[in-house]
């Protein structure tokens, strides 16, 4: 199975990179932009075949290393 982890800054945590991207999009002429937030995607191939077990393991990985929960949230998607 494959786990796809999205790590994003928590709401309320200043995201200067997202702000700069939003500003650049505006200068390129794109309109109707609200807030832009930047995050990261981490893909992990897993030998586990049970989706529930896989999610549990990846949750532990997020808590321990993949996300800094002081400033970041994470979301996990498990694919077959």
């Amino acid at each position: 199975m494959k786990a796809i982890v999205h790590v994003t800054l928590k709401p309320g945590v200043l995201d200067p990179q997202g702000k700069a991207i939003g500003h650049a999009l505006g200068t390129l002429g794109f309109q109707g932009l609200g807030e832009v937030r930047q995050g990261k995607v981490i893909e992990i191939d897993l030998t586990e075949t049970d989706a529930a077990k896989a999610e549990k393991a990846v949750t532990a990985m997020c808590e321990k290393l993949l996300a800094n929960t002081v400033i970041e949230n994470y979301a996990i998607r498990i694919e077959a």
Partner: protein
């Protein structure tokens, strides 16, 4: 007195730190490679600046989970003073030894210049060489020095006197312009609850030689050497 400096792949301020420790402690610091789990008994452990593991994932995240850091944590729990400078500060927050996190500088640029700091308290082994309220000039050199913690954590740090250093201007004023990286409440360095762990972004080890523009960093190391003697 013995001191140890933890060295990760990508550390690059360990030799500057060694010069400062040698000068104040009069002994040669031990250089401890990140894979070593055997750390001899020492009076002070320092996690130096640099870009450990290339700042992969997040600055300090990889180093925080390296074998040697388990030992550093154990020693800190036993009361051995631990100093983290710049990447060392990032590593200590990632390891959960200090609260909060260091984020990308608000200006998105690497900041390399001399800043002024206010010593918030002299009541610690790290700051006893200064007077409370004293303004010192030391350099910063970082990309991710923007200190973040939630309001409750910041209030707790301030209530308990755990803010060690704050960015100020040359006159000692905590202005927005004096804050080089967007750190919340201008925080440049903090202690843990027992004030035996200090993390700070500026580099006192690079302000010990008059030829480098100033010696205001000496107070930290001289004070430590006296306090630990």
């Amino acid at each position: 007195m013995k001191t140890a400096i933890i060295v990760f792949p990508g550390s690059n301020r360990e030799r500057d730190m060694a010069v400062a420790l040698r000068r104040s402690f009069g002994t040669e610091p031990l250089m401890i490679w990140h894979k070593d789990v055997d750390l001899p008994a020492v009076d002070l452990i320092v996690v130096p600046g640099g870009f450990s593991y290339g700042d992969y994932l997040r600055a300090g995240a990889m180093g925080a989970h390296s074998p040697v850091m388990r030992t550093v944590k154990e020693r800190a729990d036993q009361g051995v003073p631990v100093l983290g400078v710049c990447n060392g500060f990032q590593t200590l927050t990632e390891a959960g030894m200090l609260p909060g996190a260091l984020m990308r500088n608000a200006g998105l640029k690497f900041v390399c210049r001399t800043v002024h700091l206010r010593v918030e308290t002299a009541q610690s082994v790290f700051t006893s060489g200064y007077a409370a309220g004293q303004t010192i000039a030391v350099p910063v050199a970082h990309n991710d020095g923007n200190y973040y913690a939630d309001d409750a954590t910041l209030d707790r740090l301030e209530d308990r006197g755990l803010v060690a250093f704050r960015y100020v201007d040359a006159e000692g004023g905590a202005t927005e312009a004096a804050n080089p990286n967007g750190s919340r409440r201008g925080i440049a360095g903090i202690f843990n609850d027992t004030k035996t762990v200090l993390g700070l972004m500026p580099h006192p080890e690079d302000a010990i030689d008059p030829l480098h523009g100033g010696t205001d960093g000496r107070g930290l190391f001289d004070g430590l050497a006296r306090a630990l003697a």
